[in-house]
Protein backbone atom coordinates (compact mmCIF):
# COMPACT_ATOMS: atom_id res chain seq x y z
CA UNK A 1 0.00 0.00 0.00
CA UNK A 2 1.23 3.44 -0.84
CA UNK A 3 2.03 5.73 2.05
CA UNK A 4 1.96 8.76 -0.22
CA UNK A 5 -0.81 11.16 0.74
CA UNK A 6 -0.96 13.87 -1.89
CA UNK A 7 -2.87 17.01 -1.00
CA UNK A 8 -5.99 17.42 -3.08
CA UNK A 9 -7.49 20.87 -2.86
CA UNK A 10 -11.12 20.51 -1.77
CA UNK A 11 -13.52 21.75 -4.43
CA UNK A 12 -16.80 21.54 -2.50
CA UNK A 13 -19.03 24.52 -3.16
CA UNK A 14 -16.68 25.97 -5.80
CA UNK A 15 -19.62 27.16 -7.85
CA UNK A 16 -20.93 29.40 -5.06
CA UNK A 17 -17.90 31.65 -5.37
CA UNK A 18 -18.91 33.50 -8.53
CA UNK A 19 -22.33 34.51 -9.94
CA UNK A 20 -21.27 33.20 -13.37
CA UNK A 21 -20.64 29.75 -11.87
CA UNK A 22 -23.98 29.87 -10.03
CA UNK A 23 -25.79 30.62 -13.30
CA UNK A 24 -23.85 27.82 -14.99
CA UNK A 25 -24.84 25.29 -12.31
CA UNK A 26 -28.43 26.58 -12.42
CA UNK A 27 -28.48 26.05 -16.19
CA UNK A 28 -27.05 22.54 -15.93
CA UNK A 29 -29.48 21.71 -13.10
CA UNK A 30 -32.46 22.33 -15.37
CA UNK A 31 -31.54 18.96 -16.93
CA UNK A 32 -32.69 17.17 -13.76
CA UNK A 33 -36.19 18.68 -14.03
CA UNK A 34 -36.32 18.09 -17.78
CA UNK A 35 -35.40 14.43 -17.22
CA UNK A 36 -37.96 13.91 -14.44
CA UNK A 37 -40.72 15.55 -16.51
CA UNK A 38 -39.84 13.40 -19.53
CA UNK A 39 -40.14 10.31 -17.30
CA UNK A 40 -43.54 11.59 -16.02
CA UNK A 41 -44.67 11.92 -19.66
CA UNK A 42 -43.32 8.43 -20.39
CA UNK A 43 -45.31 7.03 -17.44
CA UNK A 44 -48.33 8.88 -18.84
CA UNK A 45 -47.83 7.14 -22.18
CA UNK A 46 -47.54 3.75 -20.46
CA UNK A 47 -50.83 4.47 -18.63
CA UNK A 48 -52.47 5.73 -21.83
CA UNK A 49 -51.55 2.49 -23.59
CA UNK A 50 -53.10 0.49 -20.71
CA UNK A 51 -56.58 1.98 -21.11
CA UNK A 52 -58.90 4.66 -19.80
CA UNK A 53 -58.84 3.76 -16.07
CA UNK A 54 -55.04 3.75 -15.97
CA UNK A 55 -54.88 7.07 -17.85
CA UNK A 56 -57.35 8.70 -15.43
CA UNK A 57 -55.20 7.43 -12.56
CA UNK A 58 -52.24 9.29 -14.06
CA UNK A 59 -54.33 12.47 -14.35
CA UNK A 60 -55.33 12.07 -10.68
CA UNK A 61 -51.69 11.63 -9.65
CA UNK A 62 -50.92 14.99 -11.32
CA UNK A 63 -53.42 16.61 -8.91
CA UNK A 64 -51.40 15.86 -5.74
CA UNK A 65 -49.90 18.97 -4.11
CA UNK A 66 -46.39 17.53 -4.47
CA UNK A 67 -46.88 16.99 -8.19
CA UNK A 68 -48.20 20.52 -8.69
CA UNK A 69 -45.28 21.97 -6.70
CA UNK A 70 -42.82 19.93 -8.78
CA UNK A 71 -44.38 21.14 -12.03
CA UNK A 72 -44.23 24.78 -10.91
CA UNK A 73 -40.48 24.41 -10.29
CA UNK A 74 -40.09 22.40 -13.52
CA UNK A 75 -41.85 25.18 -15.47
CA UNK A 76 -39.30 27.65 -14.12
CA UNK A 77 -36.48 25.28 -15.05
CA UNK A 78 -37.85 24.78 -18.58
CA UNK A 79 -38.17 28.53 -19.11
CA UNK A 80 -34.64 29.08 -17.75
CA UNK A 81 -33.40 26.36 -20.09
CA UNK A 82 -35.09 28.14 -23.01
CA UNK A 83 -33.56 31.53 -22.11
CA UNK A 84 -30.04 30.09 -21.80
CA UNK A 85 -30.51 27.93 -24.92
CA UNK A 86 -31.51 30.94 -27.03
CA UNK A 87 -28.53 32.88 -25.67
CA UNK A 88 -26.02 30.15 -26.56
CA UNK A 89 -27.45 28.88 -29.86
CA UNK A 90 -26.16 31.78 -32.05
CA UNK A 91 -22.68 31.22 -30.62
CA UNK A 92 -22.47 27.51 -31.43
CA UNK A 93 -24.06 27.60 -34.89
CA UNK A 94 -22.26 28.73 -38.06
CA UNK A 95 -22.59 32.49 -38.72
CA UNK A 96 -25.67 33.52 -40.65
CA UNK A 97 -25.38 36.11 -43.43
CA UNK A 98 -28.06 38.48 -44.74
CA UNK A 99 -27.23 40.64 -47.80
CA UNK A 100 -23.54 39.93 -47.28
CA UNK A 101 -23.59 41.09 -43.66
CA UNK A 102 -23.24 38.86 -40.65
CA UNK A 103 -26.48 38.78 -38.68
CA UNK A 104 -25.68 40.07 -35.16
CA UNK A 105 -26.09 37.71 -32.21
CA UNK A 106 -28.69 39.97 -30.51
CA UNK A 107 -30.97 39.76 -33.57
CA UNK A 108 -30.71 35.98 -33.64
CA UNK A 109 -31.59 35.84 -29.94
CA UNK A 110 -34.62 38.10 -30.49
CA UNK A 111 -35.69 36.00 -33.49
CA UNK A 112 -35.67 32.88 -31.30
CA UNK A 113 -37.83 34.59 -28.67
CA UNK A 114 -40.36 35.55 -31.34
CA UNK A 115 -40.32 32.04 -32.82
CA UNK A 116 -40.74 30.49 -29.35
CA UNK A 117 -43.65 32.85 -28.59
CA UNK A 118 -45.38 31.86 -31.84
CA UNK A 119 -44.83 28.12 -31.23
CA UNK A 120 -46.08 28.39 -27.61
CA UNK A 121 -49.26 30.15 -28.80
CA UNK A 122 -49.85 27.63 -31.59
CA UNK A 123 -49.37 24.70 -29.20
CA UNK A 124 -51.65 26.28 -26.58
CA UNK A 125 -54.24 26.97 -29.28
CA UNK A 126 -54.14 23.39 -30.57
CA UNK A 127 -54.30 21.93 -27.07
CA UNK A 128 -57.01 24.19 -25.69
CA UNK A 129 -59.34 24.96 -28.57
CA UNK A 130 -59.19 22.31 -31.25
Amino acid sequence: MSTRKPYVRPMTGWWLKNPVYIRYILRESTAVFVGIYAVILLIGLIRLSSGEAAWNGWIDAMRSPGAILFHCVALGAAVYHAITWFAVAPKVMPPLYFKGEKVPVEKLVTAQYILAGVIYLVLLGLILWS
Binding site: M11, T12, W15, I25, E28, S29, T30, A31, V32, V34, G35, Y37, A38, V39, I40, L41, L42, G44, L45, I46, L48, S49, E52, W55, N56, I59, M62, R63, A67, I68, F70, H71, C72, A74, L75, A78, V79, H81, A82, W85, F86, L115, A116, I119, Y120, L123, L124, I127, L128
Partner: protein, 117 residues
Protein backbone atom coordinates in the same frame (compact mmCIF):
# COMPACT_ATOMS: atom_id res chain seq x y z
CA UNK B 1 -7.94 1.08 -36.71
CA UNK B 2 -8.87 4.50 -35.46
CA UNK B 3 -11.59 4.30 -32.82
CA UNK B 4 -14.51 6.48 -33.81
CA UNK B 5 -16.14 8.59 -31.14
CA UNK B 6 -19.88 8.32 -30.51
CA UNK B 7 -19.87 11.94 -29.34
CA UNK B 8 -21.43 13.39 -32.56
CA UNK B 9 -24.47 11.08 -32.26
CA UNK B 10 -24.98 11.85 -28.58
CA UNK B 11 -24.43 15.56 -29.14
CA UNK B 12 -26.95 15.62 -32.02
CA UNK B 13 -29.59 14.02 -29.78
CA UNK B 14 -28.65 16.49 -27.01
CA UNK B 15 -28.95 19.43 -29.40
CA UNK B 16 -32.25 18.26 -30.86
CA UNK B 17 -33.54 17.61 -27.33
CA UNK B 18 -32.50 21.08 -26.21
CA UNK B 19 -34.46 22.61 -29.07
CA UNK B 20 -37.56 20.52 -28.28
CA UNK B 21 -37.34 21.48 -24.58
CA UNK B 22 -36.86 25.19 -25.31
CA UNK B 23 -39.67 25.48 -27.86
CA UNK B 24 -42.31 23.21 -26.36
CA UNK B 25 -41.76 21.90 -22.84
CA UNK B 26 -42.96 25.00 -20.94
CA UNK B 27 -46.36 24.63 -22.64
CA UNK B 28 -46.64 20.91 -21.84
CA UNK B 29 -45.63 21.40 -18.20
CA UNK B 30 -48.14 24.24 -17.89
CA UNK B 31 -50.99 22.11 -19.30
CA UNK B 32 -50.33 18.64 -17.82
CA UNK B 33 -48.74 19.72 -14.55
CA UNK B 34 -50.46 22.96 -13.56
CA UNK B 35 -53.51 24.11 -15.59
CA UNK B 36 -55.41 20.79 -15.79
CA UNK B 37 -54.54 19.51 -12.26
CA UNK B 38 -55.52 22.85 -10.70
CA UNK B 39 -58.74 23.06 -12.72
CA UNK B 40 -57.67 26.25 -14.52
CA UNK B 41 -58.67 24.57 -17.79
CA UNK B 42 -61.12 21.72 -18.30
CA UNK B 43 -59.82 18.16 -17.82
CA UNK B 44 -61.47 17.41 -21.20
CA UNK B 45 -58.28 18.87 -22.71
CA UNK B 46 -56.49 15.68 -21.58
CA UNK B 47 -59.46 13.33 -21.97
CA UNK B 48 -58.60 9.68 -22.65
CA UNK B 49 -60.44 9.52 -25.99
CA UNK B 50 -58.69 12.62 -27.25
CA UNK B 51 -55.17 11.47 -26.29
CA UNK B 52 -55.74 7.86 -27.39
CA UNK B 53 -57.05 9.18 -30.71
CA UNK B 54 -53.98 11.37 -31.07
CA UNK B 55 -51.65 8.45 -30.33
CA UNK B 56 -53.49 6.32 -32.90
CA UNK B 57 -52.36 8.48 -35.84
CA UNK B 58 -48.84 8.43 -37.27
CA UNK B 59 -48.34 12.16 -36.61
CA UNK B 60 -49.39 11.76 -32.98
CA UNK B 61 -47.04 8.80 -32.54
CA UNK B 62 -44.10 10.74 -33.97
CA UNK B 63 -44.99 13.83 -31.91
CA UNK B 64 -45.23 11.91 -28.62
CA UNK B 65 -42.00 10.00 -29.31
CA UNK B 66 -40.17 13.27 -30.01
CA UNK B 67 -41.42 15.09 -26.89
CA UNK B 68 -40.61 12.16 -24.58
CA UNK B 69 -37.38 10.75 -26.02
CA UNK B 70 -35.37 13.80 -27.13
CA UNK B 71 -35.67 15.72 -23.80
CA UNK B 72 -34.38 12.58 -22.07
CA UNK B 73 -31.26 12.53 -24.27
CA UNK B 74 -30.77 16.23 -23.60
CA UNK B 75 -31.14 15.64 -19.87
CA UNK B 76 -28.81 12.64 -19.48
CA UNK B 77 -26.07 14.21 -21.62
CA UNK B 78 -26.11 17.35 -19.52
CA UNK B 79 -26.18 15.39 -16.25
CA UNK B 80 -23.30 13.21 -17.45
CA UNK B 81 -21.15 16.23 -18.29
CA UNK B 82 -22.02 17.86 -14.93
CA UNK B 83 -20.93 14.91 -12.77
CA UNK B 84 -17.39 16.24 -12.71
CA UNK B 85 -18.61 19.63 -11.46
CA UNK B 86 -20.02 17.95 -8.37
CA UNK B 87 -16.83 16.09 -7.58
CA UNK B 88 -17.88 12.77 -9.12
CA UNK B 89 -14.79 11.93 -11.11
CA UNK B 90 -14.81 8.14 -11.24
CA UNK B 91 -17.09 5.52 -12.70
CA UNK B 92 -17.32 7.08 -16.14
CA UNK B 93 -18.28 3.83 -17.84
CA UNK B 94 -20.87 3.08 -15.16
CA UNK B 95 -22.53 6.48 -15.51
CA UNK B 96 -22.42 6.30 -19.30
CA UNK B 97 -24.22 2.95 -19.25
CA UNK B 98 -26.81 4.06 -16.65
CA UNK B 99 -27.57 7.51 -18.10
CA UNK B 100 -27.44 6.84 -21.84
CA UNK B 101 -29.02 3.44 -21.19
CA UNK B 102 -31.95 5.21 -19.51
CA UNK B 103 -32.35 7.52 -22.51
CA UNK B 104 -32.21 4.56 -24.90
CA UNK B 105 -34.84 2.78 -22.79
CA UNK B 106 -36.89 6.00 -22.85
CA UNK B 107 -36.74 5.86 -26.64
CA UNK B 108 -37.37 2.19 -27.34
CA UNK B 109 -40.20 1.75 -24.79
CA UNK B 110 -42.37 4.62 -26.14
CA UNK B 111 -41.57 3.48 -29.68
CA UNK B 112 -42.82 -0.02 -28.83
CA UNK B 113 -45.90 1.29 -26.99
CA UNK B 114 -46.81 3.76 -29.73
CA UNK B 115 -46.53 1.16 -32.50
CA UNK B 116 -49.09 -0.93 -30.62
CA UNK B 117 -51.53 1.93 -30.01
Amino acid sequence: MHKRSNEPIVWSLFGAGGVVVAYSMPVFILITGIAVPMGIVSADVLAYDRLAGFAAGWFGKLFLLVIISLPLWQSVHRIFLSLHDFGITGGEVFFRVVLYGAALWGTLLPLYLLIGM
